[in-house]
Amino acid sequence: MSAAWAVLRKDLRLELRSAETLPAMVLFAVVTIVIFHFALNRDTIQGQEAAGVFVIALLFASMLGINRLFVAEREQGGFDGFLLAPVDRGAMLLAKASALYLFLVVLEVIAVPAFKLFLLQPGLGRPLPGLIAVLALTNLALSVIGTLVSGIAVHTRARDLIGPMIGLPLLVPALIASARAAGPILQATHAPAAPPLRWVGTLALYDLVFALLAYAVFDFLLEE
């Protein structure tokens, strides 16, 4: 646990000082939203469409973070240091997934208001609690699967290609659930404030299974 905390703190400090990943992710998400305005040729969107556009922007931005997640460890010998230390290998998964989770939270703190400003028709006040719940679960899926995929991809030659190629299909069910859960609460009129439980449940189940699975197999990705 303390090892995970140390690695996480190292990652956050690195990001604070060098600002390599997070600004790129935020910019990417905002630009994606702007592109959707032109691609759809619409000034405002709502409901299922809005949920889909936001989930796609989130997914693409997270891909940047996923690609960069282990690059520093590989290039600067972080893996070797971690393997030499007498700590549980699972700590790496926990630390990296937490770092990615925090990145996504910061990203959303900026991207959700930007989305409201540029595209979203209904006000943010009423759907916000439901949206936060859905995004919390979506972030979990993105960060757990993202860390696993990034761990696989970082040692391959074409890592920037392999990461998204494996990651996208693995994330499809989570994104279906996320978009369907967020759709009804982003309706402009008389929308229920709570996301549909069926989809939240599916998303939570998916998170749980992949968290356990990632914990079981991640050790093997770190061996030399």
Binding site: L148, H155, I162, P169, L221
Partner: protein
Amino acid sequence: MRSTTYGRGLRSLSLLTVLFIAAALVMVFFYAPLDAEQGFVQKIFYIHVPLAIVSLCGFVFGGLMAIGYLRTGDRAWDMRSYVAIHMALIFGIGGLISGSIWAKASWGHWWVWNEPTLVSFLIVILLFCTYQPLRFSIEDPERQARYASVFAITCGAFVPLNFIAVSQATQFVHPRVLTLTGAHLPPAMGVTFLVSMIGITLLYATLWKYEMAAKNARSQLRRLRRTLLGEDLDRPYGRSAAPL
């Protein structure tokens, strides 16, 4: 790799496969009744559904073999997992194409989105299409085997999960022929389906065994040739997606 002979029993297995496939074809065309609504085109069902089911089971089978590799570190398990996924992918693409033909004939479209079985199947196929590129882009054979095993286990578990998630997303257009409560088929169709299911399963087993035997023979041949030429036995033999 140990020098096991995968060719043992291959002849009887092949004969059994031919027998069952032939019996299935005869039953499909001469025994099973015509479907009242769809007519003759419904007969593709006896090929399409077994292909799809066998391919999904093949992916899960590959995942189970990969667990064997991670537990023992024996490269033979990696080879089994590789061949299982490779074969399942071929069967899966067969299932996808036959399903598309069936969809065109009975629903009028080559592709139908509000159809969870079709969509989940497509996602699974897209995922497993990345298996070969992943292997190919890792040069160290031992690392390749380990990472491919992690992929195979993760994606093997993904197969059932994905079907749960996608089937929630849409209402059913696909005929619910096989549900958890049992098969909703008239007896004559049920028997025919069972025979072709066994036939396709045996076909998968035979092809898996054939490829294992071929890969094994090739690896032994290379080893012998290297020994004759006095080369280093452990040096990787060029770049390859397949385990050597």
